[in-house]
């Protein structure tokens, strides 16, 4: 896949702390890229540098193969974590103002806003003042404003906060649709379930350093604990003896005659051999390699860098 956006050894120093310490990321075109990390890790600083709100002290951002310029902000849609609207202004008027600031003409902006307001079934909000809207409603309007000019790059910082499950789903589907029609998306969140669901690639930042990055499946298998989950029917004693000392069996559960066991090989034990031994002794219902959740990976990776062994 083509590289769409990259950060190369970006350094940002604030008065008395180093916000970004030679961070590099690479976002492939047409992917959803998860930018993860604990609070204060430097994610927002990196996002602001990509948006050219602040400039890096060292390093550079490359956008579509070239060093990013101020012209490129037209191709970026940014939904910051700290987002708000003018309370006293009317919803429609304000949406139009903000998309015009992005460089869209008044006529075109009006046309597209009409379309999106209809799509989200919020036409009746047009003449309301923002202060009359609930937080979730305002978020919806902001989402529309962000994607309206169909930018090539979309950056969402915690896009789901404040949404109910129905609207979360609506927005999630919109994000996937935007990816499918060609947008590249950078997605920053603390909700790891949505990362597993949406992201193709991730980068995990802690203390201003990129500590883990890559394709999400690849990252997950890198952290796989080499454990397997077996559900079978048959004699547990027979299984235990057959596998011998090669493995540790944990957490045996029984429901009716269906048994459930976690297998951890003690040393290298080819999976193929293991399966054939099991197969000779019991009836396999299912055999799965246990992949770690992003939640576990997040916690492990962060703790490893916080307290290196």
């Amino acid at each position: 896949m083509n590289e769409f956006l990259s950060a190369n050894s970006v350094v940002k120093q604030f008065a008395n702390h180093l916000a970004l310490d030679r961070v590099s990321i690479s976002v492939p075109e047409g992917s959803i890229f998860g930018l993860l990390g604990p609070n204060g890790a430097g994610k927002t600083t990196l996002i602001r540098i990509i948006n050219q709100i602040t400039a890096p002290d060292e390093g550079e951002i490359r956008f579509r193969g070239k060093k990013i310029t101020s012209e490129d902000v037209y191709h970026i849609g940014y939904l910051p974590e700290e987002r708000g609207l003018y309370k006293k202004m009317k919803v429609g008027e304000q949406a139009l103002y903000l998309v015009q600031l992005k460089g869209m003409s008044r006529v075109e902006g009006l046309k597209r806003l009409k379309y999106w307001f209809e799509k989200f079934e919020i036409q009746s909000w047009w003449d309301k003042k923002v202060e009359e809207l609930s937080k979730g409603m305002a978020q919806k309007v902001q989402f529309i404003i962000t994607v309206l000019h169909e930018p090539k790059l979309l950056i969402f910082d915690e896009p789901f906060t404040g949404f109910d499950p129905i609207n979360t789903n609506l927005v999630k589907n919109e994000i996937l649709r935007l990816r499918d029609i060609g947008a590249t998306i950078i997605f920053s969140t603390h909700i790891m379930a949505s990362v597993e669901e949406l992201c193709d690639h991730i980068a995990l930042i802690n203390h201003g350093k990129n500590i883990l990055s890559g394709n999400i499946d690849e990252v997950r298998s890198r952290y796989k604990p080499d454990t397997y989950e077996l559900r079978y029917k048959g004699d547990p004693e027979k299984l235990r003896q057959a596998l011998n000392s090669g493995v540790t069996l944990e957490e045996e559960l029984t429901r009716g005659d269906l048994r459930h066991v976690i297998i951890k090989p003690n040393h290298r034990y080819p999976v193929r051999d293991m399966i054939s031994v099991i197969n000779q002794n019991v009836d396999i219902v299912s055999f799965d390699e246990m992949l770690p959740g992003m939640n576990d990976i997040f916690i492990r990776a962060v703790e490893e860098t916080n307290h290196p062994k």
């Binding site: 948006n51 602040t54 101020s70 940014y78 910051p80 700290e82 003018y86 202004m89 404003i145």
Partner: protein
């Protein structure tokens, strides 16, 4: 540039469309005009009631000495019984009783009895008439011929005439000049304060409502700040122009009506317009003299260099406003809420208020060292210079003051932009001066 004009447009329109702006813009000149007219108008209204004063004259010589006014009549009572008159005062319908004692030439006093507070005008009228009468009487007793009496009548008025550098002479009015200086200086103070703090509140609104990060992803923080500053300046200029037009409109409209109605109203108006030290035209209450007075005032207005004053006002307003508005914007960006503004507001407020005090002083002593110095210091010059301008300030001083102001506001905007850029994205941090200094020194 297109984006900045979008921002200017929004800042301008949202403010101009506000009800409070429309009400204030229309109401202020109406109130101002009312303040000038109502006292004068009320004074004439009261005079329109016919007042009859009963005169008890124990000297028996003053009859006819006090001229009858249009609404003020004097009635001499033949068989004087002051006590009885006082008892029946309510039924008699008299406004007051004037008692002239027999020994008036010794005591120099007459008494005016009434059940209400009599007006100054009535006392003035009686006093000047009797003074005249008894002066003539005394002179006659000293055998001074009457024609000499006529010839020694003297009235001196002071015309203030000023040389210009070209040797041309022009007539001016000290009161008028001071008045114009005061009004423009005070307006300057008010505008800088009012619209400067609007900038601050606007910046804080964007920061506390978290709008700012959305916007600075499309425009540079400097563009946003300048868009706001310029937009609000235009609001101020709009208000200024409307005020001037409305005030003149109301003034001349009302003048037309009142002049037709009663010349006296206009006298009170011009009187309240002019400096209180100027001789009030109460004594000169003859219709013919009003016209002369108007001509006089028109003449004096003509001697004031309005293009210079208005030009300077616009220049110093824009300069002073830019200077203070950028400071206000920096403060607004650095704080999270209104209460935190206090510590930063004080150093901004002090020079403005100081400027106001020096300005009041400069009205009397426009060329004193203090006035000159403070009209050069950029933080106070817009206010103080405006009070001095009507007094023909040397050109080099205006130019120097203007140049210093321009350099200072350029510097302040640069500095404010640096604070602003960092401040607007900084939440939940108590900011102090050391912190601000760090922000100014940030590279990007």
């Amino acid at each position: 540039m297109n984006k900045v004009s979008l921002i200017i447009q929004r800042e301008y329109l949202t403010r101009v469309k506000k009800k409070s702006f429309i009400i204030m813009t229309i109401l202020t000149p109406v109130l101002l005009a009312a303040m000038i007219f109502v006292p004068g108008y009320l004074a004439t209204k009261e005079d329109n009631q016919e007042k009859i004063i009963a005169v008890v004259d124990n000297t028996h010589i003053t009859e006819g000495a006090i001229p009858q006014g249009t609404y003020l009549k004097f009635e001499y009572i033949d068989n004087p019984d002051v006590e009885k008159l006082k008892q029946n005062f309510e039924e008699s319908g008299y406004y007051a009783i004037l008692f002239i004692p027999e020994n008036i030439l010794v005591s120099n006093k007459v008494q005016l009895y009434s059940n209400q507070q009599t007006t100054m005008q009535v006392s003035e009228h009686i006093s000047s008439a009797l003074k005249n009468f008894f002066t003539q009487l005394k002179l006659k007793n000293e055998n001074v011929p009457l024609d000499i009496l006529e010839r020694i009548k003297t009235s001196i008025s002071v015309d203030t005439i000023q040389w210009t550098s070209t040797g041309e002479e022009k007539e001016g009015s000290a009161g008028l000049v001071a008045g114009i200086g005061y009004v423009s200086g005070f307006l300057m103070y008010m505008f800088i304060f009012m619209f400067g703090s609007q900038v601050m509140r606007g910046v804080m609104e964007e920061k506390t409502n978290r709008i700012v990060e959305v916007i600075v992803s499309s425009v540079r923080p400097f563009q946003l700040m300048m868009g706001k500053v310029v937009g609000i300046a235009l609001v101020g200029l709009t208000q200024f122009v409307i005020w001037i037009l409305l005030t003149f409109g109301i003034f001349f409209g009302a003048k037309g009506i009142l002049l037709k109605d009663n010349g006296q109203a206009m006298t009170s108006v011009t009187q309240s317009l002019m400096d209180a030290n100027n001789a009030g035209p109460v004594a000169a209450a003859k219709t013919g003299e009003y016209q002369k007075l108007f001509d006089d005032i028109a003449n004096k207005f003509g001697s004031v260099n309005f293009p210079l004053i208005i030009g300077c006002f616009l220049f110093f307003f824009i300069g002073g406003y830019l200077l203070y508005a950028s400071l206000f914007a920096a403060v607004g960006s650095a704080v999270d809420n209104e209460t935190d503004t206090q510590q930063f507001m004080l150093p901004i407020t002090i020079p403005i208020v100081l400027g106001l005090f020096v300005m009041i002083n400069a009205m009397q002593t426009p060329n004193s060292t203090i006035s000159v110095i403070f009209s050069l210091i950029p933080l106070t010059s817009p206010i103080v210079m405006m009070a001095r301008i009507p007094y023909d300030v040397p050109t080099w001083q205006i130019v120097t003051s203007g140049l210093i102001l321009i350099l200072t506001f350029l510097g302040t905007i640069w500095m404010a932009a640096k604070i602003y850029r960092t401040g607007i994205l900084m939440y939940g941090k108590k900011v102090n001066y050391a912190e601000l200094w760090k922000w100014i020194r940030y590279k990007n």
